[in-house]
Amino acid sequence: MPTSFFNKNVSETQIKLKNRIWLYAISFIVLFLLIVPSLVVIPMSFSASQYLEFPPKEWSLRWYENYFFSWKVENGFNDWMSATWTSVKVAILTIFVATPIGTMAAYGLVNGSSRLSKILFPIFISPMMVPIILVAIGLFYFFVQFKLVNTVLGLVLGHSLVAMPLVLIIVFSALKNYDMNQEKVARSLGATRFRAFREITLPQIKFSIVSASLIAFLTSFDEIIISLFVAGGDNSTITRSMFLALRDQIDPTIAAISTILIIVSSGLLILVQLLGNKDKST
């Protein structure tokens, strides 16, 4: 068996498995190195020691306690819970800003004049192309003028700016794969444009829209740089607090927070993958 296994053809050009072992080895190593580092944090977060040993010599939940009960601590800087709550609040609001605006824009681009689309599309993608540090300090300066620094509104605007291109791309591609003739048919049968969109198109792209919403949430929740500049004090986000803590001292509580973040992101990601494949295409 081993010989025939290694003599299997694995490509159109009749390369045998044994000739490709090196490729498989490199690939597995790289995949390993991609996933494992993040995962190592998980067992470490249960380590009792200040130095986060791996494997932990003593198990403890102290860092989790530190995180969940941080609101009891007087020191606002390490109030993880309140920062988490701010992040969640902002992320949810970002969904409600980025998703409708991005979806409408995608629909307008797909159905509007192609000349206009060619001009608008790069403009709409620009938040992803401009170095984020520049966006961040620009927003900071701008918000200072309008007293939006350290406000939830400011954060939502900043995060939506970064999330919208992703929503646009997801919904745009879903609409491109969708047969717009169905809207035409619905209209020929008596439906107004809006009714045709609502009853025919929307149900068929709903999974993409939900995926886009989840991506918007994740983007906002994980957003660091804009939050660093725009948030602060009472309205610090969890990312900002984590960054400052990391830069100044290695607080092991971060390991606990990281574990929770990994679980939440992975969960959302799996949800997105499952939903993304469910949109029906004709």
């Binding site: 169905q182 209209r187 439906a191 068929q204």
Partner: protein
């Protein structure tokens, strides 16, 4: 199931994309209850015209009237037409019943009435009992019928169809051509049908409008268009004719150096084309007759095509370029002549009455 239908008048409809004319000043009158086919090659503008009738494309100027009412400015959902698209565009997230019932739902019809009319429509297209099925469970032919049922369930006065049969295989297509025509007769709607398949047009239509380059080339019954095409393009597009260059000068018609007689002499001198339909030309018998034109040539190819034999002959006449003539002989021919062999010299005959010139 008689249904009062409407006539359609199209006047001076023009649509320009930058410098390109998709439709050039097209005017056409479609009689109430007629089956009109818009026939033309790809890019001719036939689909654009259909879309103008439906309201999805707005022309630069022109008028479209349904009956007495000007509809050119009306949005599609208010025009009261039924439409079948090339790829059917069925709603995949709905069942057959829901698809067919959708236009009724839009009109606020009662649930009981929806159910009744949906059943009626499905029966008309021979899909009774399949209402609960999902779209992806149906075959191509079944989907086509659902699209049709959905378009007629609300008894529109006008039915528009954009190459609805092009995705079906040959046998199914030919069956559906007959069925669609029967449906049209039964429901008495004005039908405008778009296709590039000239055989389909000849089979199904009351009248055919040949469209090319955004312009109306010829309007007439299938017979008229086939027997009397008005120009070289139509003669070439319809049927399998050979077109031979002829010169008309001072009352004489000649191919190369040989003189021929034609059914109708054109008034002006100049260059024309002789339309030779493969089924009208035949192997000449020994006797020369007065009412026949003769062509001499060498047999290049003899191709078996099932029900007929196609012979390709290279003409002996000195013409500008080599001209081949195609002749089609049914394989159960009553003539006792054997088919000539390749390389043999043959003489072909064409009745003067069938010798027809176009510009």
């Amino acid at each position: 199931m008689k249904n009062t239908s409407l006539n359609i008048s199209i006047e001076n409809v023009t649509k320009k994309y930058d410098e390109f004319y998709a439709l050039k000043d097209i005017s056409l009158d479609i009689t109430s209850g007629e089956f009109m086919t818009l026939l033309g090659p790809s890019g001719s503008g036939k689909t654009t015209l259909l879309m103008v009738l439906a309201g999805f494309t707005n022309p630069d100027y022109g008028s479209v009237k349904f009956g007495d009412e000007e509809v050119i400015l009306k949005p599609p959902h208010l025009r009261g037409i039924g439409m079948v698209f090339q790829n059917y565009a069925l709603f995949p997230h709905m069942t057959v019943e829901q698809n067919v019932g959708y236009p009724q739902k839009l009109r606020g019809v009662s649930k009981a009435e929806i159910s009744r009319t949906v059943d009626e429509a499905l029966t008309t297209v021979k899909l009774e009992g399949l209402g609960h099925r999902r779209v992806d469970e149906l075959s191509g032919g079944q989907r086509q019928r659902v699209a049709l049922a959905r378009a007629i369930v609300f008894k529109p006065k006008i039915l528009l169809m954009d190459e609805p049969l092009s995705a079906l295989d040959k046998k199914l297509r030919e069956e559906m051509q007959i069925e669609l025509r029967q449906l049209h007769d039964k429901l008495n709607m004005t039908t405008v049908y778009v296709t590039h398949d000239q055989k389909e047009a000849l089979t199904m239509s009351d009248r055919i409008a040949v469209i090319n380059g955004g312009e109306l080339m010829q309007l007439g019954s299938p017979n008229e268009i086939y027997e009397h095409p008005q120009n070289g393009f139509i003669a070439d597009f319809i049927g399998e004719s050979s077109l031979l260059p002829v010169k008309v000068s001072k009352g004489n018609v000649s191919i190369g150096s040989a003189k021929i007689k034609v059914a109708k002499q054109p008034g002006k001198d100049g260059d024309y084309l002789l339309v030779v339909r493969p089924e009208k030309v035949f192997l000449a018998s020994a006797n020369k007759k007065n009412d026949e034109n003769y062509f001499h040539g060498e047999l290049l190819d003899s191709i078996f095509q099932g029900e007929s034999q196609l012979l390709v002959i290279k003409l002996a006449n000195k013409l500008n370029k080599e001209q081949t003539l195609r002749i089609r002989i049914p394989n159960q021919s009553v003539t006792d002549k054997a088919f000539p062999s390749i390389g043999e010299n043959v003489t072909l005959a064409l009745k003067v009455a069938d010798s027809y010139l176009v510009s």
